[in-house]
Amino acid sequence: MATITTSIFTPATAARFDKLAGIYPVKRSALVPMLLYAQDEIGYVSDAVVTEIAQRLDLLELDVRNVLSYYSMLRTVPAGKYNVQVCTNISCMLRGGFALLDHCKHTLGIGHKETTPDGLFSLEEVECIGACCWAPAVQVNYDFHDDLTPAKMDAVLETYRAREPR
């Protein structure tokens, strides 16, 4: 592995990446997980992330970008601190997924893949998230919220708002 002298990641993440590059039969296998963990820390896959991950895995930046552009959860622009992902696929649609999406657009004042001016929330309409029997379902970052109504959705958003210092 190429030696990384100055990492853009926290020491904990850098150490995790050192380990991740060594556990697979082929180093490149660590690419998708690394991109996700990098995004978790930096907020998106920035140019600097691409450069460092390419270096860590002995890949061309082009190889990294080629993979990056394929996966829908990876983004190259920042999102809100809390990314609200509303599922509107069939099971959720039948139980009010689109109404929930419209409610979120209205209450947050933003559209698909937009971010509130304070940077707190972004909104995304997503495909099936695997919570069909507990529909309609929403993911905020990685947290699942099931069996929602517009009123319950407001309460969910409030719990994230309440985490912020006033």
Partner: protein, 444 residues
Amino acid sequence: MPTLVSHPDEVKVLSRRFGQGAANIDKYLELDGYKATQKAIAEGPEWIINTMKASGLRGRGGAGFPTGMKWSFVPKVSEKPKYILVNGDESEPGTCKDHIIFLEDPHSIIEGTIIAGLAVGSKMGFIYLRGEYRYLLNIMEKAVADAYAKGFLGKNIFGNDGVDFDIITQTGAGAYEVGEESALMESLEGKRGIPRIRPPFPAVVGLYGGPTVINNAETIANAPHILLMGGEAYAKIGTERNGGTRLFGISGHVERPGVYELPMGYSLRKAIYDVAGGIKGGKQLKAVVPGGASCPILRADEIDIGLDFDQLAKAGSMLGSGGIVVLDETVSIVEFALRTIRFYQHESCGWCIPCREGTDWIKKTLTRFHAGGGTRKDIDNVQYIAENMMGRTFCPLGDAAAMPTLGFVKKFRSEFEEYLAGARPANPLIQIQPVGEPEHAGAH
């Protein structure tokens, strides 16, 4: 958090530890945990494969291929290492069964992976979850770490010299296509999830070029139960050539949606009206998608059928991933068809032209049709395009998009014609896009 449901008709084999805190390794051990693995080590590969064959277990991802046979295809001697790959990239709309196994019984997946490894002579397994399942990855990682700490994974497992097995867990990053076995291998190798042509099949040339067994998470979680109860006993629960039970996720317009473990061959009518409590709000049933979004729709008069691979195939549909999506009388099939094809158009990886162009063309046609700009020829065109996608792609995604589309236009052609004549649903589920407006700017 998913809610656990229960019904007296359930036969709890796979789900028998659900709700009992079995993610904790000590609790799991109290509930017969890791006994099957030790038995497998003692009895050897031939016994494992014979037991799996006798069980009649068929792949729970959707294809329904006999698991014991799949394991027996792996060459005994191989220059390259052999691998076990557990497919937990659960992405078929209507399907959330693996979700609940990862949550409630992660060790059963670890055990199944080791057992598959013992059966085919592999020393390394991968458990791949979809990217959205991060909290479930955390649960799996904890379970794997606990198993290592007890000596159930690593070198000389359970104190048996020379019996080694390692497990790596990871997630994807959002891609339906990666649930297809060859695209899954590509993703695990750090590439775009694009399918490989077969042959060679993964059992001969798979992950990193080595022989690879790829099983759905539910399939693999069944293995320890089968080894403990015996193949014949498991087979007896189901119907002919459809051994055992299945986790059915019933969603949509029912009173009690949830994941229920029912014997193979259980009546679809009873699953909807008894197990899931009937149609929500006392409405009438219009149609059912019996096994996830890719399975052709069944009309309300076609539900007197047993839920197994062969009976559903005979009825012109599929058992698929066991995700039963129920539509009440108010649903517009035009809207439902549009939402379904939007999904497949979004998820087509673009590798094969019939899928890439076909899904896009159908989506555009149905979008215009839905907005009121349709013609009679559109209905025929949609059918024509779908028929020409069938069987013409590397992987089954093209078929998965074409099959439900054909079901909608063939079984509910009159609804498309009425829509054309101006009929509109009383409760529209999707907003109508004015003709000429930019394309839908959502996920799809």
